[in-house]
Symmetry: C2
Subunit: 262 residues, 2 copies
Amino acid sequence: MEFIQSIQNSKVKQWAKLISKKGREQEHAFLVEGEHLVEEAMKAEELIQCLIIQETMQEKYQGWIDECRAPSYLVSEQVMNKLSETQTPQGICAVVQINKHSLSELTEGRPILLALDGLQDPGNLGTIIRTADAAGIDGVILGKGTVDLYNGKVIRSTMGSIFHLPIFQLDLTVEIPRLKEKGFRIVSTSLEGAVAYDEPQYADAVVIVIGNEANGVSQEILQCSTTKVKIPLYGQAESLNAAVAAGIILYEAARQRRKLQG
Amino acid sequence: MEFIQSIQNSKVKQWAKLISKKGREQEHAFLVEGEHLVEEAMKAEELIQCLIIQETMQEKYQGWIDECRAPSYLVSEQVMNKLSETQTPQGICAVVQINKHSLSELTEGRPILLALDGLQDPGNLGTIIRTADAAGIDGVILGKGTVDLYNGKVIRSTMGSIFHLPIFQLDLTVEIPRLKEKGFRIVSTSLEGAVAYDEPQYADAVVIVIGNEANGVSQEILQCSTTKVKIPLYGQAESLNAAVAAGIILYEAARQRRKLQG
């Protein structure tokens, strides 16, 4: 197993490129860090390109090194700090290939999809992906203007759910009309002309669209929607956090489907 | 109107004490910063002890200075930076008196209360208070071991909801049995021995208890609960974010109450 001490090493330079969006797009790969996320990545093992482990942690992770089919590298603390975006690195990272799913795989049966239209906050995006996983959503579509999926903060906030369901980065103004034509109902959040979020039925093929934190769902997507929904505000709060709002609507859909199944 | 230039000024030293929990407890006051939060504080004007405005912002906030019955102070950028916990201070702060509500005010009728048992993350606490406000919850009880309500990150995450509903810092092991004796149902989240969160009815007087992010609701409170509930996990996610979980349960309660009212 190779030991890499210097941050000038060419592999380290290549890995460090993955911290930027441009680098990830060039390499079709991203970095995950920390024990829990690497553990989740190892369940999708065919995607792992390599494990990177701080030398002081070799004993702890020897079982993982033995088990992983991809190569492992031991690195110095200095190298680990260069690759880590957290204040207290856990001493383990993995380089993971970006998985290209096809949306057409998901149009059979009565799928339930979530689309995000220009969501800005990395913590919100990660938490929403985690919530979509928990609620049993079949796939998530990230529209243009949504924060990059492979941003380190997004990945950490997903708590591993990034490996649990297919996630697409696509143009909603192209995909939403296509899904509608295929028979999907398009349920978008909106403050105006909307019914309460628990009024529509979510049992058939449906796309739930959540918008930008400040501006909501764009006009173009609203005009293409089958139903507009809102979450009633009973107190004096002016709005809900986007991840909380997504959780309330996704779980109403899951609740209805559970009731129908008895 | 007094202008304060130096961070050595005795008023500035007194205000800066409010950044620490100990200082807030001594002074029975806390600091809020930023335009939106100060605006919300001004709606509860009797609680404002003073407005603090950066001299460069005097023109923008002259209307607020005229309107506020409490004294206003103009300060240098250096003073504002000392009082601010954010990277880009908005140039306006207020010192607000800590409001002491009594829980006994809230036991008439069929109130719906939220209790938090050892919640740790400031962002989660603020977001949960914002969500409780939105869902029309009558009051929030923060148990021992829950992060301090007047922590700057908590206040900012409430988006002003800290001024919209009564919030109590109490010992749940004392208050929950008392509320139960007064006829409240105690609905606690739990992974074991729990029914789905939408099975109980939330129409009568009820306390919903959400636990610590890692360990959940404490055994002592679980033993005193009328009903244990869980949110089903349909995918591979191991848990939900605490604020998302709170939102799903609080809105199920609000949904049931809305349905009953027709």
